[in-house]
Every structure is written in C-alpha cells, then in structure tokens.
Amino acid sequence: MNDTTYTIPVGPVHPALKEPIELVLNVEGEKIVGVDVICSQVHRGIEWLGMNRNNTVQNIYLSERVCGICNVCHPYCMVMAVEDALGMEVPERANYIRTIVAELERIHSHLLWAGVAAHEIGFDTVFHYSWALREEIMDTIEYVTGNRVTKAIMMVGGVRRDIDKDRRERIEKAMEYYLQHFHKIEDIFLHDKTIKMRTRNTGILTKEDALKLCAVGPLARASGVKKDVRQDMPYGAYAELDMRAITPDMYTGEIVGDVYDRIIVRLLEVKQSVELIKGALENMPSGPILSEKNYVKLLSILKRAEGEGIGRVEAPRGEDIHYVRLEKGKESFLSWKIRAPTYNNVLPWIPMLLGGEIADVPIVAASTDPCMSCLNRVTVVDEDKNKKYEITKDYMHEQSLKKTRRLMRNE
C-alpha cells in the first residue's frame, strides 16, 4: 500500500452485487492491485437449525430455502445424503422426475445469469431479452410443480408430485419454445462485438488455479477442467441420458478460461438441458414415485436410523455437496454440512481480479454466478455488542409484532 493506491469498497451493498458480499479493492488509478473478500452479511444458520430444531422432513423444506435459485439442488442433495445414510432405494420414475425438475431449474438459472451478466456490462437490452425468455420456463415450473420458485417436490425416497400427461405436454411445449427462440440471445452473446470486447481475455482463470483453488461448475469447466457430477458420478437418470461435461473448446476449439468462455459453457448447457429434458420425458418409465408413502412410518425409520451419507448434485453453479449424519433416537441431524458451489468459487475471484480494471469487477464477479445466500448460512444476534445501534433487532421485532396486532384489531 503506497501513496498512489487507494481502497474502494465494493459492497456489502452495491449495484453490481445482487446479494450482500464485500470486496475490498486496492486500486492504482483503474488497475486492481489487491483484493480481499469479506462475507458474513447474510449468514442465516440453516445448518444449525437442521442440527438443533427440525426433523429430517422439515429439513427438506429448510434446505429449499438455502437459496431461491438453487431450490431443487439443495433439497435434492440433502435427500440423496439421507438416502445414502439409510441405504434407501429410489423408484425409477422418481429419479426421472428429479432429473427433469433439476434440469428445468438449470435452464432458468442460466437464463437468469445471462441477464445479470448483460446488465453488469451495461447491456440492458439483452438483460430484458433473457429475462423475457426466462418467463416461459418459470410458467412451466409453476405448471409442473405448483410454484414459480420453491418447487417443494423432493421427499426422502422419491418425489411428491408426478408428471402426468398434461404436465408432460406443457414441458414439451416449453422445450419447443426454447428450441425456436433460444438462438436469439445465443446469437447476441456469442457474436455481438461489444460483448466480446468486454468479456474476451477478461478475468482469466488458468486451469492450474482452477484446480488449486478447487473451482467447481461452469467456472472450472470454462478453464478446461472436465468436471461435472452428472458425468463423473451420475445420479438420477443422467447415466441413461448420455451426459457429457461441456467445455468451451467444443465451440471455439480453444480454452482461454475468460468470461467469454464461461458464457459459452452456460449457453451450451442450456441447450444440453433442453436435450436432457426431452430425452428424460421420452424414456420415463411408469411406476411409483415414492418408496415409502406413509410419512409417519418414514419419520420413525428416520428416527431409528444411524449412519452417515453424502449427497452430491451438479447445481447450475457447480458441485453441491451435503454431508448428513443421523443418530439413533435423534429427530434432527447430528451433523449437517452444506457446501454450496459459491463456497469454492469465491476464492478464484482473487486471481481473476488481480491486474484487472475496476470496470471488470462486476462482470468477473458475476461470471462465477455467485450466490451469497447459498454461501452464508448462522443467525445469532449478539446483543451485547450491538449496543452501538440504538435499535436492536428484538426491539424492532417487538414493534413489528405490536403493529401487526394493532392492524389486526383495527380490521
């Protein structure tokens, strides 16, 4: 730190970041010479709740709320870990339904990302286009699962809702829509000159750095690490659907590991997801969707169970891993560890940003598709140390309760 460097705080609240995280940048003019990442803004203690308050089935819904966007992969991962610990088998049809729902989520997440990335480089038109295209998948998800966002479809030993003929047709219609319209934003992203100017050779992550810093998901694949849980350790129906990890050299013939490569990987993955969903719908066998229909019985099995299990799912942002340990006679988990993909993808920011410009910060940060709510999870209010604020959280909560009552009385 010398006279010519000065510090710019990006975050905790900043228009480039859709969720709170703090990046402290040391800059010389426009050039970045030092980066530090500070989290802890939205840690909600989800693991703690799962270990101390909830039972296993309640934890499914809790894990769904780890993150609004990855609301299939977290419960999927958790039920896989529990099934692994129990040694429970899942019906085939349920595996297919899980796969379809997970891929629907991937399409929506990648389109959301595409919009955010375009917004970060100041290209609002593409942002609106991608989000307009995303509406179709959101409507489909609502039709299939009943909700636009939290899908509430996972259950230990299967799924809660079937995909019947009507819903199947709705998904097929949506896939047709994407086959027809997706090329519009694909063209803009891959061929527009200004996008290429802003993203080519920006935020390069070398393969070695990606391996050393344990990067996952599209970020690692864009750097040339052919790593995809769906391919390496298939779960659900992926083994039957001929799943291959996508790297940017499939499209351009070379791997640079920059932001542009990450765009390519994500766009190709959307197309791949459409193919996977179509394949899954064709091959879907008939049969039961739950291995244990009686919830009371299931809960008693879970309460008596003992063992540990690991669930791994390829979330839209990368490998998601849950470790679950069950203890006899305990309703909640003895131990639960959620590792969301962003957890591993935060450290690669540092080599990507060093030597870059301030203008690169938003797009480089966005190119990993960070998800802070996935990353941060304990809520504990320290009343002693929060005295510097005059209004404590409890006070506010009290006031809020009083106001609710007032309103209720006035009804």
Binding site: A118, I121, G122, T125, A132, D192, M197, I358
Partner: protein, 339 residues
C-alpha cells in the same frame, strides 16, 4: 430607451428559453425512455416520468456527505445547469436568431460546453467518496477523449466556409445558418461532411454520458460514479442539466449540419404569418432534435454494451480521429479543387 428594451427582452428571452429547454429536454428524455423500453420488449414508463422524477427529487432532502467540501459540492450542480442554459443564448433555435448572437461565437459555445463536465468532475472530487473520485477521473479521461474529434469537426467546417465566404465571420452560427454546409461542398466534401456528422453524433453520446460511453456513471461498476453522493435538489439540478444538454447538443448539430427551416419553403406556396412561421420552425426544430437524440442516444444505448475506459480512448483517439482526419483531407481536397 432602446437599450433598456434590449436588456429587458434578453432577460425575458433567457427565462423563456430556459423554461422551454428544460421542459423540452425532459420530454425528449421521456421519449427516449419509451422508445428504448419498446426496443427491449418492455412497456416502459409514461412520457411524463422524467417530470415526476424531477418533482420527487426537488421534494427530497439534499444530503451533504461528511467529508464533502460543501460550497464546491453544492455549487457544481448549479454551475453545470447555468452554463448549459447560457449556451442556448448563443445558438439559433428554428428561425429565431440567437439571443446573444452578436456577442459570442462557436468558440464560446465550445468553452461553455466543457464547463458542465468540469463542474461534474469538481463536484465528484469534492463529495469525498471513492466511487465519485473514480467517476471524476473517468469523466476527465472521457472529456479529453472526445474534445479532439469535436474540435476537428467544427474548425474544419468553419475553415471551409471561411474560404468560400471570406466576408462573413467564419465561427458564427449565422454563417452556418446562411450557407448550409451541404450546399457549399461538392461530392468529396459531401462525403467528408457525412463522416463529420457521424463523428459528432458519437461525440454527442459521450457528452451525454450514455451507454456505451457512460463510464463516469457506470451504475454496476462504480454505482453512478460522480453522482453517487448527490441527492435531492442537487441531483435534480444535474438531472435537469442532463435534459438541457440533450437540447443544447442537438441544437449545435442542427445549427451546423441541418440549419434548414420550413417557413421559407411554405411561404413560396402560401403566405405565412410571421408568428406562424416561427411556430412552425420551432416545431420543426423540436422534431429534428428528437430525431438526433434518438439516433445519438436511444439507438446506441439500447444496442450496445458499456465499453471500458481504454477502449473508449481508443475509439476516440484512433478510430474517430482517423475518420475526422480523412474527412478533413477530403474537404481540403474539395476546397483546393483537385478533382
């Protein structure tokens, strides 16, 4: 008695012109937003949204940051708006000659045009936020980048007119008005002037700090940069200055490149009363302004992504400078009558 009347009319004219440019500038902003929204598959806000924005900003409190230098911080929005309103006094609008036409020429306008940017830079530095500092640096770089092509456009054209009509003052808008540039050149010069038009339209985008050249603001990078600390009335001033700037820059382009009016054409067929002529010309001026704003602002900002600072300097100092140089040579060849 005559002098008093002159001063009186100048004062009243300034007020009328100021009110007109603010209202019209805000309407152009509304039109710009609506068209941009339609291009982005959106419905967009109603045309009167900018007026609502200003009203709301005027009602809000102006917050003074803790480490700001208050008098500079508070005065720079006023300077910015005032200098832009002053420019309008030197530019003819429609068939109405410039209010202070005799006392200043294009050079004054060019200098006055720099003042808002300088005010923004000083205001940004004085607000004491790191984002504003970065924004102010960027504004400075942007200013240095686009001044060169802009100066080349105006002085080449003035030189051309001076050679053709030595008896007129070369750098006054009246000369430009009297002898439209397109009529004063032959084929090569026509191409040169066309290139200059494109250059000046791109300069306009940067002057207005719109995407792809909006680096001083750059919402997602430095959180509106120079304006990040401004709020309430101070920010409303900048907002109005931005609206007036659209009118000013369009008026300059119109005065140099499209000084045509409808009333002389109409009076060949029908007798047109003077007041009607003025009205028609002002409406035509407004139409031209909107067209220029849409081309230089709306279309560009809707269809391009934001460039980085080094890329912008490259665009202005290499691409646009080369283009202006070629255009200059074409006009010079045309003047010398080589072909």
């Amino acid at each position: 008695m005559n002098e008093i009347f002159e001063i009186f009319s100048a004062v009243v004219g300034t007020f009328v012109l100021g009110a007109f440019s603010i209202l019209f500038g805000l309407s152009v902003k509304g039109i710009d937003r609506k068209i941009s929204a339609r291009m982005q598959w959106r419905i967009g806000s109603p045309l009167r949204q900018p007026f609502r924005d200003v009203r709301k900003l005027l009602l809000k409190e102006s917050v003074l940051p803790k480490n700001a230098v208050s008098w500079i911080y508070n005065s720079s929005p006023v300077i910015s708006l005032a200098s832009l309103l002053t420019i309008l006094l030197f530019i003819p609008i429609g068939s109405i000659p410039a209010l202070l036409g005799g006392s200043g020429d294009i050079i004054v306008v060019l200098y006055l045009l720099i003042i808002p940017s300088i005010a923004i830079i000083i205001g940004g530095y004085s607000s004491g936020s790191p984002f504003s500092s970065v924004g102010a640096q960027r504004e400075m770089v942007l200013l240095i980048s686009y001044e060169l092509p802009l100066a080349m456009v105006i002085f080449t054209l003035a030189w051309r007119l001076n050679i053709l009509y030595p008896s007129y003052s070369a750098l006054s808008f009246e000369t430009f008005q009297k002898f439209p540039i397109w009529n004063s050149v032959s084929f090569l010069g026509f191409i040169g002037a066309g290139i200059f038009l494109i250059v000046i339209l791109l300069v306009t985008t940067a002057e207005l700090a719109k995407v792809p050249f909006d680096i001083p603001e750059a919402e997602t990078e430095i959180a509106e940069g120079v304006y990040v600390e401004y709020s309430g009335r101070n920010y409303a001033m900048f907002y109005l200055a931005d609206a007036v700037k659209i009118v000013v820059l369009s008026a300059i382009i119109i005065a140099i490149f499209f000084p045509y009016n409808l009333s002389p054409l109409l009076s060949q067929y029908y007798p047109v009363a003077p007041w009607l002529g003025y009205t028609i010309d002002i409406l035509f001026f407004m139409f031209k302004t909107i067209i220029i704003a849409i081309i230089a602002m709306t279309f560009l900002r809707t269809s391009l992504a934001r460039l980085k600072i080094d890329q912008i300097v490259k665009v202005y100092w290499f691409h646009l400078f080369t283009a202006s140089l070629i255009a200059m040579i074409l006009i010079a060849l045309d003047t010398m009558g080589v072909f």
